[in-house]
């Protein structure tokens, strides 16, 4: 606490009182900041989205995320039940603010998603690109070449590789609404 000499002169007493007021105002500010932080996640989902070379979302508050799970597309809001899900090639759509009709869309090639007991969502994707960065022509070309490869594969390994490529390109084509 503040140590004040009993014989402080009037000017010094005023200074210490002012100092104390400043401290109390600062403490109030800090308290409200901490409260604001938890408030930021009060109605929002804490979202982490990372790929091996970068972090796309780091503890960001978002409204909702739609993910391509291996057994179907599902959406995650705040307070979702804890889940572990594998991801298949598809689109991860992020609604950052409630009522937003524009979703941020990323194409992911695969990975895993976890909803943790503390109700935060983590996506670990092998690759993720914003959907508008996909080149439509390249997707069409890739789709054609993998279709051929799958049809003409000679052994199991080649067939499996071709089918993997085909699945990814089909998902990209579907995401871009391309035939």
């Amino acid at each position: 606490g503040l140590v004040m000499s009993t014989k402080a002169r009037p000017r010094e007493r005023r200074a210490t009182v002012m100092f104390r007021n400043v401290l109390m105002r600062a403490a109030r500010g800090l308290r409200s900041e901490a409260a604001a932080e938890t408030d930021a996640f009060a109605n929002k989902l804490k979202f982490n989205f990372s790929i091996p070379t970068a972090t796309l979302y780091d503890k960001s508050p978002v409204q909702m995320v739609i993910l391509p799970g291996s057994s179907g597309v599902f959406g995650v809001l705040k307070d979702h039940v804890p889940t572990i899900a594998a991801l298949k090639p598809g689109v991860v759509a992020v609604q950052e603010v409630e009522g937003d009709s524009e979703l941020k869309q990323f194409f992911v090639s695969g990975g895993f998603a976890y909803v943790k007991p503390d109700s935060s969502l983590d996506i670990q994707a092998v690759e993720a690109v914003p959907l508008d960065e996909l080149d439509v022509d390249e997707v069409k070309k890739g789709l054609a070449s993998y279709t051929n490869a799958a049809a003409s594969a000679s052994d199991d390994v080649e067939k499996a590789e071709a089918e993997i490529g085909l699945e990814v390109y089909q998902a990209m084509a579907a995401a871009l609404n391309v035939a």
Binding site: P52, T55, V81, I84, Y114
Partner: protein, 314 residues
């Protein structure tokens, strides 16, 4: 004998003799000849140390620039590699070893991670030492196998444990290490059976601090067999295959991070080692220069003495 100063007043018999011999057979003047030879050898030593110093300085610069790139990529990989829930991590790594618990008696599969190139300080030898210590401590009946990443650890471990080395990977550092390469490594590792998996690498804390860290993982089945993951909802049809895939994915992402951390530690260690080498070379050059100058002055003094004494004798 070399510094025998002639008395100025009276010509010494010795110097007389030396003067006479010097005119006839210079090669017999062994002391002088030896001095000139050592002057030359000192000079050549100084030039060779200087050229070594240039190399070590250049290597330090290269290591410093590689360190920057490696550190960025390593830091980017950390959130990815450790994104899984704490419960999953706990099951993967198994319960912490308690004091006095019976030592693990099964097959341990070690993956020591080292560099391909040398001159990087102690990073590789510390990994090898840690692995050897771990192998000494296991009880009878347990077996070990090594999957060695990097040439340096392979050279060190194949001498003692040749029969235990199942595979080794070289030249993964020629191009920036990708997650795809880590997946291939994980695939290769999972072709072998084991009871416990141990990755040993240098974890990078800061440019001057990196420590050998072992990461222990259980078997691929450990996730699907565990009860601790019941809190998580998983798709019924996919349950068991998903957990097997998850183990592979976790292994690949940890390998990715471990190789990047080791690479960053290697560059930091090389930078420090080359810096020390340059400083040592500098000290050596200074000492040699002093020696050279002393020697040069001694030669001149002796020559002068001989000339003077020779002149006096005439």
């Amino acid at each position: 004998r070399s510094g025998a100063l002639a008395d100025e007043s009276s010509p010494c018999a010795m110097s007389l003799l030396r003067g006479a011999v010097g005119l006839a057979r210079p090669s017999l003047l062994r002391p002088d000849g030896a001095r000139f030879a050592s002057l030359k050898s000192l000079k050549s030593r100084v030039t060779s140390v200087k050229s070594i110093q240039k190399i070590t300085k250049a290597m330090k610069m290269v290591a410093a620039s590689k360190l920057r790139g490696a550190q960025t990529r390593m830091e980017a990989s950390r959130p990815f590699a450790y994104a899984s829930p704490a419960e999953v991590k706990a099951v993967l790594e198994g319960p912490a070893a308690e004091e006095g618990a019976p030592a693990f008696a099964g097959k341990t599969f070690y993956v020591p991670i080292s560099s391909d190139k040398g001159l990087c300080g102690g990073v590789n030898s510390s990994v090898v030492k840690a692995v050897k210590a771990m192998v000494q401590q296991v009880p009878e009946g347990s077996t070990q196998e090594f999957f060695i990443v990097g040439m340096k650890a392979r050279e060190a471990l194949s001498r003692e444990f040749k029969e235990k080395v199942v595979a080794s990977v070289d030249e993964i550092y020629t191009k920036p290490f990708t997650f795809a390469q880590a997946s291939v490594l994980a695939d290769e590792i999972l072709k072998h059976d084991f009871d416990k998996l141990c990755l040993v690498y240098n974890k990078f804390t800061s440019v001057v601090k990196f420590e050998v860290t072992p990461i222990t993982l259980g078997t691929p089945a450990v996730l699907s067999e565990s009860d601790d993951l019941a809190v998580f909802e998983v798709d019924e049809d996919e349950g068991s295959t998903m957990y097997a895939d998850l183990f592979e994915f976790e292994l690949a992402s940890r390998l990715y991070n471990c190789v990047l951390e080791n690479s960053t530690s290697e560059n930091a260690s090389r930078m420090t080692a080359m810096d020390n080498a340059s400083t040592n070379a500098n000290d050596m050059i200074n000492k040699l220069n002093i020696k050279y100058n002393r020697q040069r002055q001694a030669v001149i003094t002796t020559e002068l003495n001989e000339i003077i004494s020779g002149a006096e004798s005439l």
